[in-house]
């Protein structure tokens, strides 16, 4: 078994050894349900799709993903296990990847457990299941980006609270940066070319495109590259911590 797999299995096990996993799953499923049916007007729209369900995901992730990732490195630094982990024969990359994959798989499980809502919509009408699948994929990719951000920022500090706040802050900035209000606000200050660039950084735009069922390679690439970028930054930060 490779070190990546060993670390991933250990992390997953530790989610379920503590209440973290169960609390997360329950809150995620309850909130996803409530937001979809009440805030999202699931019935009143009279359309057989999961649009109102997926639209809420970024906001769910904004609160719940930092709660998962904040402990990733901060807890190890605080408890002294970081020294144990980093003196085992594996690279920082392998350790980072193992932890990241564990969190990503865990979110994947949470998403999979929302299947009753998919059954409901299929029972009520005949939705385009391809679009729904794309929605799930987009949601999972976005969650991966949130997790990569959290994994990186958890390496900054040994305080879980700081890690949580930093992650939530960066995530909300990346979500909102492409919104019309924000772009309008920047209209006067920045050249339009730059504003176009900024708009492309927005997670919401890329997510909404996928959630509509348009599986554009560029949107998928955006999420994959974001993940890789944040994970690289996290590894560099961990390495920097060893020299400080």
């Amino acid at each position: 078994m490779s070190p990546v797999e060993a670390v991933m299995r250990r992390e997953l096990r530790s989610y379920f050894a503590t209440p973290v996993a169960y609390v997360f799953l329950v809150i995620f499923l309850v909130l996803a349900g409530i937001l979809t049916f009440y805030a999202g007007d699931f019935y009143e729209r009279g359309q057989a799709d999961l649009q109102p369900f997926f639209v809420m995901h970024p906001w769910l992730y904004l609160i719940l993903v930092p709660a998962i990732t904040m402990r990733m490195w901060a807890e190890e630094a605080k408890g002294g296990t970081l020294e144990l982990l980093l003196t085992l024969p594996m690279t920082l990359w392998q350790a980072m990847l193992g932890k990241f994959l564990a969190a990503w798989l865990f979110i994947g499980l949470a998403l999979a457990l929302t299947f009753p809502i998919w059954i409901t919509v299929n029972y009520l009408g005949s939705p385009d299941n391809g679009v729904i699948l794309a929605g799930y994929l987009g949601s999972w990719l976005m969650a991966g980006t949130f997790i990569a951000i959290g994994a990186c920022l958890s390496a900054v500090t040994s305080s879980q609270v700081v890690a949580f706040v930093l992650t939530a802050l960066v995530c909300v900035l990346l979500m909102l940066v492409g919104q019309p209000q924000v772009l309008d606000f920047m209209q006067g200050a920045l050249p339009s070319r730059l504003i176009n660039g900024v708009a492309h950084l927005s997670m919401l735009q890329h997510f909404e495109a996928i959630a509509r069922g348009v599986l554009d390679v560029r949107d998928v690439l955006y999420f994959l590259l974001s993940m890789i970028g944040w994970l690289i930054a996290g590894v560099l930060l961990l390495d920097l911590n060893r020299t400080r």
């Binding site: 670390v7 020294e83 003196t87």
Partner: protein
């Protein structure tokens, strides 16, 4: 083998480890001694590859820990200070996690796991959460983790800290057995441990190497080395007589129990003359003792002596069964 060459580590303006060069050979059990904050743990963390040296190099079995970290880490078993482990795991889960990360083959890994659990008497607690264990048990779990892959080099940061005398004895026996053919570096501030375990001692303070010698050589530097002490009621008279012996440098009387210690002049042996004198005086001596020297006194002397001279003993002959 462990080698460090001018190993240095700074935290801001503070130099925690200052140009430390040591070399530990197979068969040696080197005790790294020093007051708290001397840089023992920092030095070990650099050798283990957890901290990056500010300058200088460290090698484990010939592998530079900065250039070939994976090979160096594979050759090393390391118990970090405080024996950290994942509290939410059971002992079994934790040790099998280490087996997997270290990439041991399934059958060999499991055999080693059982062997080590047996050796450290962990069989009964294998399915308990590490968080629920006593400090001594947790320390043993940490030790188990360090020796699972049967490493040629072992580095233990305060291995017996927090153990009761029986557990200390068990751990020392374990280290003793492992010491053959292996290179072992132990940090400690327990001087009794040095006697029990180490065939070589390195003393550092403020990050600097202050002494590198065998325990016996260090003891010889003690003022008590070769001194004779005894208890005898009504020995006021003989004290004066003792003082007149040509080999005697000084006499001290313990104000509490009245025990008399006679210090020799440099290089003199005084057990025989003192005994003869006491017999001639017809004094009832309950028990008489020749002192080997006191390590704690030497330790104090070396570590509090600002700008002192480096104490270097002849450690070249220290190998398996030596010293």
């Amino acid at each position: 083998m462990i080698e460090t060459d001018q190993l240095t580590r700074c935290y801001g303006n503070l130099t925690a480890v200052d140009a430390l060069s040591i070399r530990v050979e197979p068969g040696q059990v080197l005790g790294l001694l020093g007051p708290n904050g001397a840089g023992k743990s920092t030095a070990m963390r650099m050798i283990a590859g957890f901290l990056t040296p500010t300058s200088g190099t460290a090698r484990v079995c010939g592998y530079d820990v900065s250039r070939e970290p994976l090979k160096a880490k594979r050759a090393l078993g390391y118990l970090p200070e405080g024996a950290p482990s994942y509290g939410e795991m059971t002992v079994r889960e934790f040790l099998l996690f280490i087996v997997r990360v270290r990439g041991l083959k399934a059958d060999r890994g499991y055999r080693r796991f059982e062997e080590v659990a047996h050796r450290l008497q962990l069989e009964e607690v294998l399915d308990l959460g590490i968080d629920t264990l006593s400090k001594g048990l947790r320390r043993r779990v940490g030790l188990a983790q360090a020796i699972l892959h049967d490493p040629p080099v072992l580095m233990l940061d305060e291995p017996t800290d927090g153990l009761d005398p029986n557990q200390k004895h068990a751990v020392r026996q374990l280290i003793d057995v492992m010491a053959r053919e292996r290179t072992i570096l132990i940090s400690t501030h327990l001087l009794e441990e040095v006697h029990a375990l180490c065939n070589r001692v390195v003393i550092i303070a403020r990050g600097k190497l202050l002494a590198d010698a065998t325990p016996a050589e260090l003891e010889q530097r003690s003022r008590y080395h070769g001194a004779v002490s005894f208890s005898a009621p009504g020995s006021g008279m003989s004290q004066e007589m003792l003082g007149r012996l040509p080999q005697v440098a000084a006499i001290e009387v313990d104000p509490l129990d009245g025990r008399i210690t006679v210090f020799p002049k440099l290089g003199e042996r005084i057990l025989e003359p003192v005994e003869t004198l006491l017999r001639e005086q017809g004094l009832e001596v309950s028990e008489i003792q020749l002192e080997r020297g006191r390590l704690d006194e030497v330790f104090r002397q070396i570590t509090t002596n600002e700008g002192g001279v480096l104490v270097r003993g002849d450690v070249s002959k220290v190998t398996e069964g030596g010293a």
